[in-house]
Amino acid sequence: MAEPVIEVRDLVKRYADLTAVDGVSFQVDRGMMFSLLGPNGAGKTTTVEILEGLRDPTSGDARVLGVDVRSGYRKIRDRVGVLPQDFEPFDRLKPREAVAYWAQLFGRSMTAEEISGIIQTVGLADRADTLAMNLSGGEKRRLGIAMSLVGRPEVVFLDEPTTGLDPSARRELWGLIRQLKREGTTILLTTHYLDEAEQLADDVAIMNHGKIVARGSPAELIAQHGGGSSIVLAGAGEDGLRAVRARGITPELQGSDVVVKVPVAGDMRRMLEKLASIDTPLNEIYTKRSSLEDVFMNLVGARMQEGVLAT
């Protein structure tokens, strides 16, 4: 039977003129990777900071490892790892020193081998003796993850761990996060990158304006809210649009591409045959599976770029 590690029920965080978190409920079971996905200001960080014991909720219940986050956090501090949003390491400490220092703050005395092991795990072995101020953005986040792991935590909160990193550094960090999950760590990941949530999470909650607007595995969300697959007539333009309409099909024009939604998978072959007969000049025809991007567009009514909604 699944063991709940994080339990959130009717969580509300209200400020004078803003309700940042508005009745959020979810549960994360042991060993799962759960992602809160949403644009900036959706309430992800507020939710996760309540779960980290860094903010008090206005109302509702939040429990981590069976403990009420408002009153009992001291009992579980060393079982919880945290990588805060916009993590910055202490500039004038080297990764090796920072990990040792952080271990002391959790009441642990780590051997040199244990410290090297953690640094190796996050891929910083070559940079272990470099001042943190000289590390790259990706290396700093890796150091942050190393520091969050010193207590051998059962649950780790990663608040937008890849924001601001280049694609290569993001993918390297994904590998590290997957490794943590394989080791059985329960992970709560907040992100505004749709592909990140789709790639990493077992379970995704899409947040907007403080509420969870959809919840499920990426596959479930795509199946329920993705609008099915699409056929793309690349470069068909206005002529292609008219030609498709002439066959009684409702297309969309996205740039110079004509896109035809195919909500039912069984209709794909028949639709492809219909569209293949169009003699309008085009670059290529291809099929496209729905993604969380489509789910987000359908649910929120806007696309999201770097955490900002673009209508």
């Binding site: 014991g53 501090r77 993590f87 910055e88 020193e97 920072a98 952080w102 009441g107």
Partner: protein
């Protein structure tokens, strides 16, 4: 604490201001004032005669614009009073002052000796001797037509070591360092920790705020002890300083460090960024440095500023350090230590309670 110390020493600016800058101040001020006077001299006067002639003599001293007189009660033991109140230079007008003048005016030969007690190696003493001599000469000329009646008998303060300018100056510099290193340091640290979200990061560990603050206090005490040792050694070996560190001085330095580390942390409650932090620390620290007697005696300031200085925590550190290091009067320093500890406890409680690591 080790990690914090490592970071601090790697920040060369912090290490410079904590360890090197005070020594530079001693070298600079020692070189400038080591052999000459500097400020208006406060002259304590015990008027044992308490008659119109002695009052006129004191008025004349006050009109020189070089000395300002303050009364020592006639009932006090002159030498003991000087020691207990850490007085640099004091004048005693004996009983019979007016009678001697009256006799001289009537043509009878008479003399009266004024006792000027102080450290004769000190510049303020030399100024006081000159002024009292000048006033006595004027009295001799105007009152008794050039027949010398009033004689000044310079004498050292009984039981007091012969001191140099640096002996008086160094406690003030130590006081300045006890204020500046932890106050400016902690305010900057709070600003950095807040703007870079280190407080939030620390809040995710098992460390409590009180433990963090205590670690910072201990670190600054160790740092201040090293800094003070360097200053004292500089004073001894370069300027031949006689004043030395005493157990009471170390207690006052420790209490003062607790006080200003906590004050820096308490100010951190209001600090949102490094610029604000520097502005707040400067606004509080710099006036206190100058008004609390670090660089020149509180006695030399106007009366209203002297009253104001009584409300400044640094005043008691400076006075306590001077009392124990320069005048060897630990009983006086003990009062300053108790007051400093009182301030320290208040600031520590405010800091530990007021600074929240949690977000609202």
């Amino acid at each position: 604490m080790k990690a914090f110390g490592t970071q601090y020493l790697r920040s060369r600016v912090g290490a410079f201001f904590a360890l090197i800058f005070p020594i530079l101040l001693i070298l600079l001020f020692g070189a400038i004032f080591g052999s000459s006077g500097s400020t208006t001299v406060t002259l304590y006067v015990q008027d044992l005669d308490n008659k119109p002639a002695s009052h006129a003599f004191i008025d004349a001293l006050n009109h020189t614009n070089v000395t300002t007189t303050r009364a020592i009660p006639a009932s006090a033991n002159f030498s003991q009073y000087i020691r207990e109140h850490s007085i640099n230079v004091a004048l005693q007008i004996p009983v019979g002052f007016q009678d001697a003048l009256a006799k001289a005016q009537n043509g009878t030969k008479a003399t009266v000796n004024l006792t000027l007690a102080g450290d004769q190696t000190q510049s303020s003493y030399g100024i006081a001797v000159s002024v009292v001599d000048a006033v006595a000469t004027a009295f001799n000329l105007q009152v008794v037509r050039a027949s010398p009646v009033v004689n000044v008998v310079p004498t050292s303060i009984p039981g007091l070591r012969h001191l140099t300018y640096i002996d008086l100056f160094l406690p003030g510099i130590i006081g300045f360092t006890v204020l500046s290193t932890p106050l400016f340091g902690m305010t900057a640290i709070c600003a950095e920790y807040r703007s870079r979200r280190y407080f939030k990061l620390l809040a995710t560990t098992k460390l409590s705020k009180a433990e963090w603050l205590a670690a910072k206090v201990i670190f600054h005490i160790v740092l201040l002890f090293v800094s003070v040792a360097l200053m004292v050694l500089t004073g001894i070996f370069i300027f031949g300083m006689k004043a030395g560190l005493t157990p009471m001085a170390l207690l006052i330095i420790s209490a003062g460090t607790l006080e200003f580390t906590s004050m820096g942390m308490a100010l951190g409650i209001f600090v949102r960024d490094p610029e604000t932090g520097a502005a707040i620390a400067n606004a509080i620290g710099f006036p206190m440095m100058f008004l609390a007697g670090s660089f020149f005696p509180v006695d030399a300031m106007p009366a209203f500023l002297q009253t104001f200085a009584r409300f400044l925590p640094l005043t008691y550190i400076n006075e306590g350090l001077r009392a124990t290091m320069t005048f060897a009067t630990d009983s006086t320093a003990l009062v300053d230590l108790v007051i400093t500890l009182g301030f320290a406890v208040v600031f520590f409680v405010v800091a530990a309670r007021g600074l929240s690591w949690k977000s609202k």
